[in-house]
């Protein structure tokens, strides 16, 4: 077994365990912390795939910004223990088989792709940009327009937050 494979299995295990803890734990703050675990483990997996940019973004944006926001919201709302209703029992009985079904279905696709049956469909001409350099080149040439449009989108979000939260005078 090579080193990357060992790292993969360790991180994959951490991610799966973290995801299960996220759902099982009844304290919102525990769920949030397990989610950080999942994000970190995923970041390592991205790194193993050679996507260093996505790995960095995963840590900075998800594990950093978004999770801090989650934790803050949980603290501010002072959320207590999660309540169980009859509906959550139904969700358990209906959700588990459905989730299992989805997992198997996705595994089936991936196995298909690995064997190469669906690879033929994935049309030629796509360049896969692995390095940050290539990614940024694409971002500032071919995909300049959506990139710039995103800045307007963020501007709208800021303006919207201002409108809804500003104190009336």
């Amino acid at each position: 077994m090579s080193l990357p494979l060992i790292v993969f299995f360790i991180c994959a295990l951490i991610a799966v365990v973290g995801a299960i803890l996220l759902i099982v734990s009844r304290e919102p703050i525990h769920s949030a912390l397990s989610l950080i675990l999942v994000m970190m483990a995923l970041a390592v997996l991205y790194l193993l795939l050679g996507a260093e940019f996505i790995a960095a973004v995963q840590i900075i944006v998800y594990a950093g910004a978004i999770m801090v926001l989650f934790v803050f919201v949980i603290m501010v709302l002072n959320a207590g223990e999660e309540e169980r209703t009859n509906w959550s029992r139904i969700a358990k009985f209906a959700g588990l088989p459905l989730g299992f079904f989805l997992l198997m279905w996705m595994a089936h696709w991936m196995a298909d792709a690995a064997i190469g049956r669906t690879v033929a469909n994935s049309g030629g001409g796509t360049t896969v940009a692995f390095s940050t350099v290539e990614l940024s080149k694409l971002l500032f040439t071919k995909y300049l327009f959506p990139f710039e449009a995103t800045s307007i989108l963020i501007l709208i979000a800021i303006l919207g937050a201002l409108v809804l939260a500003k104190r009336e005078n």
Binding site: W109, T118, A120, N121, S122, G123, G124, G125, T126, T141, K142, Y143, L144, F145, P146, A149, T150, I152, L153, L155, I156, A157, L159, G160, L162, V163, L164, E168, N169
Partner: protein, 485 residues
Amino acid sequence: MQISAEQIDNLQRLAPELILCFFGILIMVVDPFLGAARQRVLGWVAFIGTLAALGGVWVASHDLGYAYSNLIRTDQFSIFVHVVVIGAAALAILASLQYLDNEGIQRGEYYALVLFAAAGMGILAGANELVTSFIGLEMSSISSYVLVGFRRKSAQSNEASLKYFILGSFATAFFLYGIAMVYGATGTTRIDAVQTALAAAPLTSLSMLGLGLIFVGLGFKVVIAPFQIYAPDVYEGAPTPVTALLASAPKAATFALMIRIFYVSFGSAQSFWFWAVWISAVLTMCIGNLAAIVQTNVKRMLAYSSIAHAGYILVAFAASTEIGIAAVLFYLAAYALMKLGAFLVIAHLGQQGERRLNIQDYAGLGSKQPVLAACFSLFLLSLLGLPATGGFFGKFFAFQSALDSRIVWLVVIAAINSVIGAYYYLRVIISMYFWDPSKDYTPTAVAPTLSFALLVCAVGTLYLGILPARVLSLAKLAADSLILH
């Protein structure tokens, strides 16, 4: 500095969006310097912005083609939808000037958000790439969430905004997930490249799942069943000029994107998505019409009626022929005019705080405000589909195109639904002309800006109802431009 011909093309083909964003940012910059008393000026700035953007559409229409490495496709189809969307935004802004004063929420940000929303819808109409369209969709959606909650002191408005935001984000996630699946299946996110990829290889379950998820995401935005649950609450809670805008412009822009994805990208898979559209059309029409019957709140009734109309549009959509697409476009234009008109009348009649929305409040309006009542009747009759109004030809072309494609049962169900619709539209007209007027009502004068907006809607509705040929030929040109030659 040398500007290449390609750059000039890029700017010209994207002129409407650039102008709208420029005016939006201009309003944001000027806003703090004006003070609370003079915010109304910004409304006029926004109105000028939409007029300038219509000029931008004119510029773009003389320079058709691709822009920004094929991510944007400025064709006649995109131009047609741009005119509808920006026109609707202009009329909504004009109507908002007085409304916001009455409600005491005259603020520049409102107009900036309307302009940004219009820019997002413009991107939606012209997008040739799925991620670009996603950004356009979000620009229009996020602005809408905020606009819906603009009456901050009203609990109803806040509730509507929150509901719209949570469910809307959910729908967006579906759309994005669908894009990812389609990318996984075809290796591209370009709408025309997906078409060639799908033509080369059979449909995989991955691309089908992707299309299904996209249908859910966009179906939410155009308000078709079974994704319509949020719409009545949101439409009722939003400030009425915003409701007018929401019911007309995003519907046109999102249907445009749906046509591009379903008809162009997945055109070869028509037999796969046909039944989904068919079932959704039936559900949409029936739910919209049956629920509208029992409403006593006229604003809510119109919200349900707008669901029903999305169903009629789906009938033409299901035809999936060039004529069908032209019928969808014509319907969208006619529908935008009459729906804007109807909601703007309500924006005035609701009075401060939107108190007077019940059907009883409209009793005897025909004798108290004959012109306004006549306008309202015209819009309602057009929504009903009476001849000599735009709504008639919208339905006529839609049903005819479906019959041409031999979708007879769908047309039969649509016709039955039109008859059901007659009940609740006529009830409002009857209350205006035949019921005893309510005594506590003192009519207020219609502001000149609102009268102008209503005049445009009324004249437009009559024009499309009496001389539909010119707009129909434009719609046919637009539908024709979609096909990749």
